[in-house]
């Protein structure tokens, strides 16, 4: 486990990170850094490379160039379970759950990896309550609706108690009320956890983040305070303009 307390500066840093898929450059030389307990939003049009960037951070994709550092550890080329064991949790863009296991078993498996059996039982029950999933505890994860899958996956990721949380479109496909709950939850978690959130919903982004990074064509286009960035002319053109059409 990485000692995050001694490190007040950077918990996550990428240096010249690049990913290619054949001829497609999905991520192009990205320098990114995140301070401890920071809540950062990553925005950008579809295909900007946000998911590919996340996949490099978790070891799902090996970067074609550049490095990924978690605090003092260079994790470039690590496989996913090694990265996860450092305390990194990711909610993937398409919710990824163990479908033939129950909701509670999903949560338990996550909790049990980092805690002894009894604590894992409690942690799973606690997470069921916290995310209002208790009535669904014994349902198979594969039988849930999309919104509930989103919520369950968030619970699974949180149950493992990560100190760095990567959320890929957590509000995607949620109803208005659910988005509200999600925003409140993320703000609450953000007090003790460093978080990067990929999101399209601008109201949601304004609600949760102070700092925003804009991806465009695999590069960081702008970075800064949420109001400055969202009112930036170039950002509006590549991103908001396109969405308005």
């Amino acid at each position: 486990m990485i000692d995050t307390k001694s490190q007040t500066s950077c918990v996550l840093e990428t240096r010249g990170l690049g990913v290619r898929f054949g001829g497609v450059v999905a991520v192009d030389s990205v320098d990114f850094s995140l301070r401890q307990h920071e809540l950062r939003c990553l925005i950008g049009p579809n295909g900007a490379g946000k998911t590919s960037f996340f996949r490099c951070l978790t070891g799902q994709t090996t970067p074609s160039r550049g490095e990924v550092w978690l605090a003092d550890t260079n994790i470039t080329g690590w496989v996913p379970h090694q990265v996860a064991r450092l305390g990194v949790g990711i909610k993937t863009q398409i919710p990824s759950l163990m479908n033939e296991l129950t909701v509670r078993e999903n949560l338990w498996l996550a909790a049990r990896r980092t805690q002894p059996a009894r604590q894992a039982d409690d942690a799973a029950d606690e997470m069921l309550e916290r995310l209002h999933l208790a009535p669904l505890a014994l349902k198979l994860a594969g039988q849930l609706s999309h919104g509930l899958r989103q919520r369950t996956e968030l619970g699974v990721v949180l149950a493992a108690r990560p100190w760095l949380l990567l959320l890929d479109e957590p509000a995607g496909g949620l109803t208005h009320d659910e988005v509200q709950q999600m925003a409140e939850l993320i703000l609450e978690i953000g007090r003790t956890t460093s978080i990067v959130v990929v999101e399209h919903d601008m109201a949601f982004v304004r609600q949760i983040a102070q700092q925003v990074t804009v991806f465009h064509q695999g590069r960081v286009l702008r970075q800064g305070a949420v109001d400055d960035v969202l009112s930036d002319q170039v950002v509006r053109e590549v991103y908001l303009g396109k969405r308005a059409q």
């Binding site: 978790t58 799902q60 496989v79 996913p80 379970h81 996860a84 064991r85 949790g89 990711i90 993937t92 990824s96 759950l97 163990m98 479908n99 033939e100 296991l101 129950t102 078993e105 338990w108 498996l109 996550a110 049990r112 990896r113 980092t114 059996a117 208790a134 009535p135 505890a137 014994l138 349902k139 198979l140 039988q143 699974v156 493992a160």
Partner: protein
Amino acid sequence: MRALHANIGWWFGFALVTLALLFAPMFWGSFHLTLLVIQGLLALSLGLLWGQAGILCFGQSAFYGLGAYAYAVAAMNLQGHPWGTLAAVFIALLVTASFAAALGAMMFYGRVSDVYLGVITLVVTLLFNKFMNAAAGSAYVIGQAHLGGFNGIPGFPPLALPLSESFEVTGDALYALCCVLLLLALAGCHWLGQTHWGRALAGVRENELRAQLLGYDPRRLKTGIFALSGLLAGLAGVLYACWAEIVTPGLFSLKQAAEVIIWVIAGGLGTWIGPVVGAFALGGLKSALATQTLIDNTVIMGAVLVAVVLLLPRGVVPSLQRWLQPLGSRARWRLRWMRGEVTANVAKDSHHD
């Protein structure tokens, strides 16, 4: 998974198997029954690997045959020692488990895909078959044991306990031993499925990426279950060697490899009892058919398999369980509800699934 967690159903099934094993010798000779029990153990070894970890291995008979041969060779060489045959059992189990662990590690750490995994395990079985068939003559001798080509190895000592007077475990005693080991293996599998390790394996089976992203290493988990499954199959092989008192290359045959898979499919994947029942029923049917000459028995076996696959695609035991489940789950919920573990609301909710 749902099936594996149906605890009441499990104890019911376990009790039925126990009773069947107890009373069967009243109706049939224990010699034939012993073989069925050994095959039940072999089927369980595949049920463990396939059901819990989702790994379909075509080479279960490789471990079965290896266990049998390793026992024959070791027992031959330790002949005369009071502990000789017991030591041979442990050597045989060690050999099969190590071989399975090495093969598994090679495949899982080498990121061999599921399809190739099936092909590799099948090829390993066929290689054993070819090799043992060819291993005749004085070049193929391990200590005192001649591998003997297609004639196999006869005449090794059967399992004996070093009591005051050496006690040979044959006949009814061997039947009893096989039954005890099968029941222990069944209970062990059931227990394993509920441990952290067993659930982690189920997690990997259901969603390997999610398991990885939570910090579980699928390669290690799968290598572990592959070795354990190989060990169980090896144990079945050792018992087979003790029962048949001869080992031949036929143990590694394609037919044997296919039969195990058919038992598991027919009996039902995803339960522990299923594969065992499949092996009992189809093995029993096969020996019953062996005495008649009216219809070729492979035709009847084929027809039975097709009927099961078409009518009960989940296998016999899971289908039975499905019909009985409403009874079981209602009782279980009432129990939990009375203990105050769940609210009436939740209990009502879960009746639907």
